[in-house]
Assembly symmetry: D2
Amino acid sequence: MKSFSVGLIGAGRIGKIHIENLLHKIPNVKLKSVVDLEINDNLRTWATDMGVSKLTNDPNEIFKDPEIETVLICSPTDTHAKFIQEAAKVNKNVFCEKPIDTDIKRIKETLSIVKETGIKLMVGFNRRFDRNFLRCYESVASGQIGEPQIIKITSRDPAPPPIDYIKVSGGIFLDMTIHDWDMARFQAGSEVEEIYATGSVLIDPEIGKAGDIDTAVAVLKFKNGAIGIIDNTRQAVYGYDQRVEVFGSKGCVIADNEATNTVRIYTAECTNIDKIPYFFMERYMESYSTELKSFFECLRKNIEPKPNGEDGLQNVLVALAAQKSYEENRPVKISEIEKY
Amino acid sequence: MKSFSVGLIGAGRIGKIHIENLLHKIPNVKLKSVVDLEINDNLRTWATDMGVSKLTNDPNEIFKDPEIETVLICSPTDTHAKFIQEAAKVNKNVFCEKPIDTDIKRIKETLSIVKETGIKLMVGFNRRFDRNFLRCYESVASGQIGEPQIIKITSRDPAPPPIDYIKVSGGIFLDMTIHDWDMARFQAGSEVEEIYATGSVLIDPEIGKAGDIDTAVAVLKFKNGAIGIIDNTRQAVYGYDQRVEVFGSKGCVIADNEATNTVRIYTAECTNIDKIPYFFMERYMESYSTELKSFFECLRKNIEPKPNGEDGLQNVLVALAAQKSYEENRPVKISEIEKY
Amino acid sequence: MKSFSVGLIGAGRIGKIHIENLLHKIPNVKLKSVVDLEINDNLRTWATDMGVSKLTNDPNEIFKDPEIETVLICSPTDTHAKFIQEAAKVNKNVFCEKPIDTDIKRIKETLSIVKETGIKLMVGFNRRFDRNFLRCYESVASGQIGEPQIIKITSRDPAPPPIDYIKVSGGIFLDMTIHDWDMARFQAGSEVEEIYATGSVLIDPEIGKAGDIDTAVAVLKFKNGAIGIIDNTRQAVYGYDQRVEVFGSKGCVIADNEATNTVRIYTAECTNIDKIPYFFMERYMESYSTELKSFFECLRKNIEPKPNGEDGLQNVLVALAAQKSYEENRPVKISEIEKY
Amino acid sequence: MKSFSVGLIGAGRIGKIHIENLLHKIPNVKLKSVVDLEINDNLRTWATDMGVSKLTNDPNEIFKDPEIETVLICSPTDTHAKFIQEAAKVNKNVFCEKPIDTDIKRIKETLSIVKETGIKLMVGFNRRFDRNFLRCYESVASGQIGEPQIIKITSRDPAPPPIDYIKVSGGIFLDMTIHDWDMARFQAGSEVEEIYATGSVLIDPEIGKAGDIDTAVAVLKFKNGAIGIIDNTRQAVYGYDQRVEVFGSKGCVIADNEATNTVRIYTAECTNIDKIPYFFMERYMESYSTELKSFFECLRKNIEPKPNGEDGLQNVLVALAAQKSYEENRPVKISEIEKY
């Protein structure tokens, strides 16, 4: 099996997850260098304990190292496009965390460089690799439920992020629903044509003051005729509610929440089940390693990884259309956004 | 316990269900007369076997009988308003099948006569009495899940009705979704302010030729801030898919489909469960008797039955707004419709 | 469809259930006479309200009425054998509540008269007609799970009966487990060869003082090689726990408890489901009408009803063997009992 | 946090699982030496890839290394007692795979040396650390379901091992049920007093020829009055069926099988769920790392690990009593075995 020498940029929360997976769960991959622009003692200790062989603040240790043929970009969003472009120019394949960027022009420019150089680019919409949603997709893709007609996604966070985060997040449609746009497109097997989005501030008035909403609903019309429905909230007090349903001409497939355990407790009052997993670390941890395995598998087979740059672009287009729809209280076509 | 002498008009499919319940399941009620304008041998035999004491084609046998104080109206929709008005004028309480009418003016006129005469009027939105949706409502109404924020209704028929029926049905929003408007309002505990509805012809092109759609999605904004989501289809090949979910500030309550039985079969290939109940006769039969019990209970206690005439009106207002929204592809406020 | 004229003896709790079913749920059956030896005002009022046409304390009103061809026996256990014999002698078919008797000799004598006269006899082990256990049986009988190898029955009452009842009940194995012996034999499709039974007094010491146990476990060896496991308790505080599992060479089928409703409530503490149905009135009501329908269907088709007299006999044999096994703390063969 | 230097003996299937966990999942543990008596190229390559620093065939590299204070014994069963004793004599704490031995005298002798030297000994009954069974235990131990009265364990393998393995396995009660004896004792919180065990050859006659059975049922009486029921089979074609149920005076707790995913597929024929996990690698993998974490946690806190040597002894006592019960077809008291 072909081995890969890998460099990773950005050892924050998600970067650390990828580092751990690269070191312990992905066979035949060697993590040669980790770059972080703000190395402190905590990070240094963590990296040593983990067995990271090189930690540096210079991205060129990756870009200029001829041995490294694959780059994982986990740095802040506003550096993604730049690093993808740099990697492409030195002909290294890229796995980049979502989103590529929030600016359509900049995304298109980046994708065009990717195309020219012929490198492979995967964008980190990890939920596609959740065992439940993947199983759902397999059922749909195999034709078992016929033509998809209605796609329903429930996606609710357990608690809102800090207001300071909300302020720079780009809004709920770009920050939180971005995963759901991808999931809806993934399951539908088609691109979005028109969107109607609405929402309210029902959780915390501070979120409203920060210019955002905390509860959102969107209706998507796909090119293949299917209709998508997404509901989001920043606060589901009972846990991280993540469900997908695809209804089709020959049946329906439902991927429910994961259970924390299989125990039911029957008492004189009622029957109890433990709460669902609290957040993405509990729910999606496995999906991150499955995602990376898929990425390296594609590199090995020399096939296009999915989700790719085009997925990254489409998801942002839908997000921006949703924002416009919410602001103007009317359905918005993706083509209205696409031209920018 | 006070007894009631009852007359029933319209011994069609739903009328027969009520007759059977009145005879066998509702205590202290005497079904004195059944009126049907088109009595044939089949009906006559059925009535005799069932133990109906009087079957006639003259409504005056009910309206002019001083002993009968309660009328059940199960005749075709276009006769509902007329019969309610007639019953009101002779001071008889009324249970009327949904809808009161499809014309707003005529509904309002009827409700104003109901109000003047002081009779009690219940409208037959039986799903409120389904044990699952009622339990859901109790949880919401008790405050257990806090303020309702998102109401989701899945409501899918197993197979489309004949095209001839579709043509005179008034359209999917008035014919099929009418139950879901009521359910959404019931669970939300609030009235609809604005609606966005969309849909497609995905099941049968003949439905499109008849001027209707067969797949519909609606987003409701309630006056209390809650957002409702409804999805309908005329054909779910796996059975009658009827689910309700209410998400609130303190939790979430989900009423799932009824199971046909509790059996799971594990084999070397997969685990099997039997299909969900086929249609409303299998799913909602119990709700019809619970509904009538509630009606007579309200009469006994001299309290307003629910759902009442106002519910009947609101559900039609929402249906017409949905139709307008679909046609004009924009969110429509109920107030736009209400003024008619 | 052939009609039946029916007489019923014994209008106690279970007799009333059958009367109501005969009047309202079983087509083409006429309940001509109800006999009860102790008619009081309550019963008289109940019978009138229900529409019973004749209520008498003389069994001959049934046995000497040539029009009545079918007798339902719901009187106390010690009268069952006598009434079956009387009915057989005047050539009337019999549905008899379980058990036929608790004395093996008397059962055999009764069955021999049944055989001679050629009447049809069904014994009221209604649980066979529970939609879940019936579905389980269908799966097993169809061969879907291959040869049955392990049959597991969980059968737990919600609360113990009064001590006075316990004293005359014949013991837990004859009174409570009798239904489970029948269910195990039904699902296994084979007769019991040997049994090991044990138990304790864990619920109420008064039950022990009355010479009985309140918690029991039995292991059955069937002639076809299958092994059965039954556990009973007189008190499951969370409701009437009634489950069946059949494991076979090609799979496993599990019939779980019925749910009171399909609602799940998710809160910050846990997920709640309502309690399971409280007792047999909630759980098995439907099975009683299904049972009677099956009985009349067999009469119509002139085929042997099941469960029949032989089932009644076998279940008592197993119960007595269980009692002996418990008392002597050793496995007991049915053949040790059968010879009496 | 205190660090541990560890040596491991026996790099077979289960040893490799522990090695991987020690290297990647257990913090503050250093795996210094791995001993295997039969080192081949495969093992050498595996160890290098995995990052094992020293691989040797000499146990003294562990026992004579003063830096190593903890030994993991994963070698064949007949070497367990010897290695525990050796480790004890040089004062090293021990985690030993189950069973300690199959000979009561030898186990007692080993435990007495453990006691004298004061080392800590954990025995690898990993299922106690399965998240579901652990949650079940927590519910029982907290008193939530009151006094445990009935403990039911379903434990079925997906396919029988090779006949050659069966021949040297010590029989189903020592080889397979050993885990269930431990689970029953764990959940009951009490020791077994008497056992009745039975079984048959229903899967493969070759197993019978090898002197063993493939289907087994046991009824346990615990000192606290609770009754245990275990059923085993060597072949459940639908997967690795692992369930635990504890019924008590205040309720009942049920730990069901893990699901492979949460997807339900509804079609016109039926509803499908994927098969349950295939075998222990799929079901119990997480429990192995939880087990080791618990072991090192106990060492850190200087408290007795559980399950310990006494558990190891009791489980073998029950297994031998079960074997005797099966052979003599009578209930057997543990005290009959204990004296040996």
